[in-house]
Subunit: 339 residues, 2 copies
């Protein structure tokens, strides 16, 4: 049984969302869960579910400190060594869990995972991968969405390899279509980084379909889109901001008249569908690919469903032996490049 | 009377949308219009409006060639010297018009404007500025959205100065709030470029409010957001793609049941409002700031209303003497830096 360590103190609704998500996941996916954090707080949440969920493979592991959303990632990493994030990462490092999930401070979670677990031998820099729902009712994965800035072309190539393996593991596509995010399809249209990265990707054994632009993120013509983490983070935050904005506009417009309100009541299913499709809780969090040990970083606002799905993805990545595959593929490429 | 040259052959609906937009603008704003392109085609469109609009200050200027959306910008610039874009730009260069508007191939329009008109003496690189509607029912302007890649910190500072002057001219805000697009508010969170640019902006006389992230684009807490053109282009295209995606999802969801359809009919005003707010035809196109002569680049899909609004903005930028102000401000800053 796969064991997954959950930072139970991370998210905006911690530990309630984490505990409930863990229970849902343990019931549904047959995984063993270690809930890491302030014991009393976690046990209190667990007690709300006790009668029904006795016997689920959930254990509590104490951690004395909590990293907050306002902590600086580097300071939190250095100074809060007994945080639930650190303890969860050490459980993975020491082989007591195969994966960790945190909905806490993203920067801190990346720093802790990267430096407690270390990177895979063949990986220069870990990358954070986010799934964007697209028009074909599938997802496109973008990486890196913020683990790195000022990436080198070779790192972009590594992101592509990692993204391809992740996509195959979770969405079962044999040869995911890999693209490079640029400002036009023609190679000359990009910047220095994309021109060099595009050359490397063409020479690789990946199913590289070329450069795409921002609007292709939602068109569903490609599966994995690679870019520098600064670009990817802007893309992610712009999308989140715009969805928030659109939901706000619709809400306001609907409230504007009685007929709109009646109309809304009648088309509520359509709106719920829209909300569900733009809801990040379905996509299962963002894996930090390239570290030794599966690490999933969920949104701070994660509800129990989001935590459950992050645990599902963590379990699937473990079972697919994603890290072994990344290391094999990148080592083989490195040998080929030297040879 | 301000004279504005319109590339009548540029957009996807040319010359119909251009001619109709020009008529609307001439009626409403009291500007003189030169419609540039294939004479017969333009006159045919004009004849559809003749009875009603006799006497409007609209003239036709012939141009033998047309640049298409699939032309390479640099080749179109070099090889189609008699295109409507070239002729429109030469009218501005030679003082026969004060501004040009094109809904054609964006890359070609930028190249033609930049090299036929030249850049202002104190400007390193022209920048394309796009207006994003925000949650406060106002707009935030982002520049550069694609005229440059691999920008230098000093160029970012110049974008900020140009963006501030543009924002003041069109939206009447005395001290627009200027921000730098990054991946977090803390300065350390950016990349090499944003760290250096942020320092320059802090030392400037601008109302620089610091770094913002992607989601702030829609929050309406800042007026002018500066970034490298690669980033800005990704931001623009991601937003356009997502709006298209959302509209598609809503349409599909609404069609899914009879009650949704009735609901839609009742809340149609709300949807129309949403569509209008996400419709770029209201914002008046994107000015290419920093060239000698006002240049507005409108979306290829521009309808007559979009053309009309682009002409409005062109006229307002002329009347506000935006180019004089940009040159004064940047020359003064350059003298101060040397002194």
């Amino acid at each position: 049984m796969t064991t997954i360590a959950i930072d139970a103190m991370g998210g905006d609704h911690a530990p309630r969302a984490e505990v409930e998500g863990a229970i849902l996941a343990a019931r549904e996916f047959g995984v063993r869960i270690l809930l890491v954090g302030i014991e009393a707080a976690i046990r209190q949440e667990l007690s709300r579910h006790r009668d029904r969920d006795r016997g689920l493979p959930i254990e509590v592991v104490g951690a004395a400190e909590v990293i907050t959303m306002s902590d600086s990632p580097s300071q939190a990493f250095r100074r809060k060594k007994e945080s639930s994030m650190h303890v969860a990462a050490r459980l993975v490092r020491d082989g007591k869990a195969e994966a960790m999930v945190s909905a806490g401070n993203t920067g801190a979670a990346m720093t802790v995972a990267r430096f407690v677990l270390g990177t895979l031998p063949s990986v220069d820099r870990p990358a954070l991968a986010a799934a964007f729902p697209n028009m074909k009712d599938k997802v496109s994965v973008i990486l890196d969405v913020g683990a790195n800035v000022d990436s080198k072309p070779e790192q972009i190539r590594q992101f592509a390899v990692m993204g391809e393996i992740y996509f195959r593991a979770i969405w079962g596509v044999k040869r995911p279509r890999v693209a490079l995010l640029s400002i036009g399809e023609e190679e000359m249209k990009g910047n220095e980084l994309t021109r060099e990265a595009s050359n490397l990707l063409k020479q690789s054994s990946l199913n590289f379909v070329g450069n795409v632009e921002g609007r292709d993120v939602f068109r569903g013509n490609v599966d994995v889109i690679v870019c520098d983490g600064f670009i990817g983070n802007v893309a992610l935050k712009i999308s989140e901001g715009l969805v928030e904005h659109v939901q706000g506009m619709l809400k306001k417009a609907i409230k504007s008249s009685l007929s709109s309100q009646i109309g809304y009541a009648l088309s509520k299913r359509a709106f719920d569908d829209f909300r569900k499709r733009t809801d990040s809780s379905e996509t299962g969090g963002a894996p930090l690919l390239g570290v030794r040990g599966i690490t999933i970083i969920a949104h701070g606002r994660s509800n129990p469903n989001a935590i459950k799905n992050a645990i599902r993805v963590a379990g699937e990545l473990c079972r697919a032996r994603v890290n072994e595959k990344i290391d094999q593929e990148l080592s083989a490429a490195a040998v080929a490049a030297q040879g």
